[in-house]
């Protein structure tokens, strides 16, 4: 039971990162590595607003999520949009985003220091028993927030005019422009939503296990794996992949110890890329195969 509970919590975090990543990836078709540093930045923003500025916790969290969205937009306007205007290849954009990742992560290190910072109050968090598993309130909140946000997002993408516009731009930006959709604005909005989702994930993780400047790399990688395994265009596929990945990781903890989690996650990815690069649910990643 404890393993299952841990897996659900991990899946929640992975999902928050993965869905935002998939949204952006579906739109611009390159690996937005800087997504991982936005995750970190949100946690640190919450810390800065709470501890240095002295805002109440709720306000600090809201400000940090907004901040995450702003950073996402800034990267899009400052780096990606000019590159897109030059018809840069996905590899060029990927390299630029790696550069952005390195810069921002180190800026966080310089400003806040490399040591662990915490958001939660110092006493040991209360745990509650659910069917024999011990979970904290933060962990419960992670699961709940992930479910609610992802479900809302799925509904928005499928049902609203905005979602329609987003899908149109993802399919073909030029055609969308011809039909009167402002592609750049929709892409900007996507970056804002995706970054905010990553930000929420980052803050929740910071509440659960504190923060370090390098905390973003791991969820980013797991999120990318979930997106590749689940299929870019399919939110249910990503949910399934996130759950499976989290279960595989918890099983690894049980059998080999927690140190080997990442190695196993990446073996899953390699196997998937080689055997079924399209993901479970098909469509999205045909371009992966030469």
């Amino acid at each position: 039971m404890q393993l299952a509970a841990n897996a659900l919590v991990a899946a929640g975090t992975i999902l928050l990162v993965a869905v935002g990543f998939a949204l952006v990836f579906g739109m611009v078709r390159f690996f937005h590595f800087a997504h991982g540093v936005i995750f970190t930045a949100a946690a640190y923003l919450a810390f800065v607003f709470q501890t240095w500025v002295g805002l109440p916790l709720i306000a600090a969290v809201v400000m940090a999520v907004v901040g995450a969205a702003v950073i996402g937009c800034a990267i899009e306007i400052g780096v990606y949009r000019p590159l897109r205007a030059k018809v840069a290849s996905p590899l060029v954009l990927l390299l630029a985003s790696l550069g952005v990742y390195v810069v921002l992560q180190n800026l966080i290190s310089v400003v806040c220091g490399d040591d662990t910072k915490q958001l939660r109050s110092s006493e040991i968090p209360e745990t509650i028993n659910i069917l024999g598993a011990r979970v904290t309130w933060v962990q419960l909140a992670t699961i709940a927030v992930a479910v609610v946000l992802v479900a809302t997002l799925a509904a928005v993408v499928q049902k609203t005019r905005l979602g329609q516009a987003m899908r149109a731009v993802a399919d073909d930006p030029q055609l969308a422009s011809v039909s009167g959709i402002e592609s750049d604005r929709i892409i900007l909005l996507t970056f804002a939503i995706g970054s905010a989702l990553a930000g929420v994930g980052g803050i929740l993780v910071a509440f659960d296990v504190d923060m370090t400047p390098t905390m973003g790399m791991n969820p980013l990688m797991l999120g990318m794996i979930a997106v590749i395994v689940g299929g870019v265009r399919s939110i249910p596929g990503i949910v399934l992949a996130a759950l499976l990945l989290a279960c595989a990781q918890q099983a690894t903890v049980w059998v080999f110890g927690s140190a080997w989690q990442d190695a196993v996650a990446f073996l899953v990815l390699l196997a998937f890329l080689l055997v079924r690069a399209r993901g479970f649910v098909g469509r999205g990643t045909q371009e992966a195969i030469a």
Partner: protein
């Protein structure tokens, strides 16, 4: 860096001067090691167009092979070098194989996966690699009875390796082999239709590049005499690919220029008087920003001729 001459009666000025010389020799050795790394990666990424962020993994495999052999078997550096190159070459083939099936940016992710797995093995297999504690006390290299002990002698050794690696790279690139690599980079289907065995070329170039990284790893292990997994992280891989790209992918001198620029630039920060706690971060910010700037304004790098524009954009 420790200064053996400091305060041994020969006078402060002489001591300081010796430190300065040692410091410059140290920088030159580092440039040499990164030059070898970047040249190997340039073959893979610059000439064959297979952008890889697993190069630090091969670097690490080379370093750990040399360290473990030197510590446990007391074998000479030449034997270590050959074994490290063989091992890294074999693993290079393992990384080359996905490139047959997975394209461009997905290949990047696959190499990324390999990098993380290797780092985890180095970090977690404590009984064999020493884990996070690393491997201390790697002996000085002995080459045909020549004990390489001072910085200057080591620079000679590294310099010879650099020349050898560059010469091999030059020979490869000017040969029909190099032309086929460029053809694969520009248009894979065309290369195939011209009767070239694209799969074999891709795997072979991965093997050669990985073996070159192992050379750098062996030199590094024997030079620093202590290795731990933090020298072979994803960040290190990104640093090496930055050298290739900022210097100029697909040209012989690109990695040379890149290694000189990216290794010496952060050293200038020392003279600006940054506190050492910030210096490591500042170094990474510098090359990260350089990478972004390069992509935006000069994607072919300082002296290169390939800009990863294959299949450019979606329009």
């Amino acid at each position: 860096m420790t200064n053996p001459n400091h305060g041994d009666g020969s006078g402060e000025i002489l001591g300081e001067w010796a430190t300065t010389v040692e410091y410059f020799l140290h920088i030159a050795i580092l440039i040499g090691i990164y030059l070898i790394l970047a040249t190997g990666l340039n073959l893979i990424a610059g000439y064959a167009g297979l952008l890889s962020i697993a190069h630090a993994a091969f670097y690490g495999i080379g370093a750990y092979t040399a360290a473990l052999m030197a510590l446990n078997l007391h074998s000479p550096i030449l034997v270590n070098l050959i074994c490290a190159m063989l091992l890294a070459g074999m693993l290079g083939a393992v990384v080359g194989v996905p490139s047959l099936r997975i394209r461009d940016d997905y290949f990047v992710i696959a190499t990324f996966a390999f990098q993380v797995i290797v780092f985890n093995v180095l970090n977690n297999w404590v009984s064999f690699t020493g884990g996070p504690m690393g491997l201390p006390g790697i002996p000085q290299p002995v080459l045909f009875g020549w004990i390489v002990s001072s910085h200057f002698e080591f620079l000679l050794l590294v310099g010879c390796c650099c020349v050898a690696v560059l010469w091999i790279c030059h020979r490869l690139v000017c040969s029909p082999f190099g032309r086929v690599l460029k053809a694969i980079r520009e248009d894979e289907v065309f290369a195939q239709s011209a009767g070239k065995n694209v799969a074999a070329y891709k795997v072979l170039v991965s093997v050669i590049g990985a073996a070159m990284a192992a050379v750098a790893g062996v030199l590094y292990a024997h030079y620093i005499s202590f290795i731990d997994p933090t020298s072979f992280t994803v960040m290190e891989s990104i640093f090496i690919i930055s050298i290739v790209i900022i210097g100029g992918a697909g040209s012989l001198w690109g990695p040379v220029v890149g290694a000189v620029v990216l290794v010496t630039l952060p050293e200038l920060l020392r003279f600006v008087g940054l506190p050492s706690a910030v210096a490591a971060n500042a170094r990474q910010i510098l090359y990260g920003a350089a990478l972004v700037a390069c992509m935006m304004w000069r994607p072919q790098g300082l002296v290169g001729d390939y800009s990863f524009q294959k299949g450019g954009g979606r329009q």
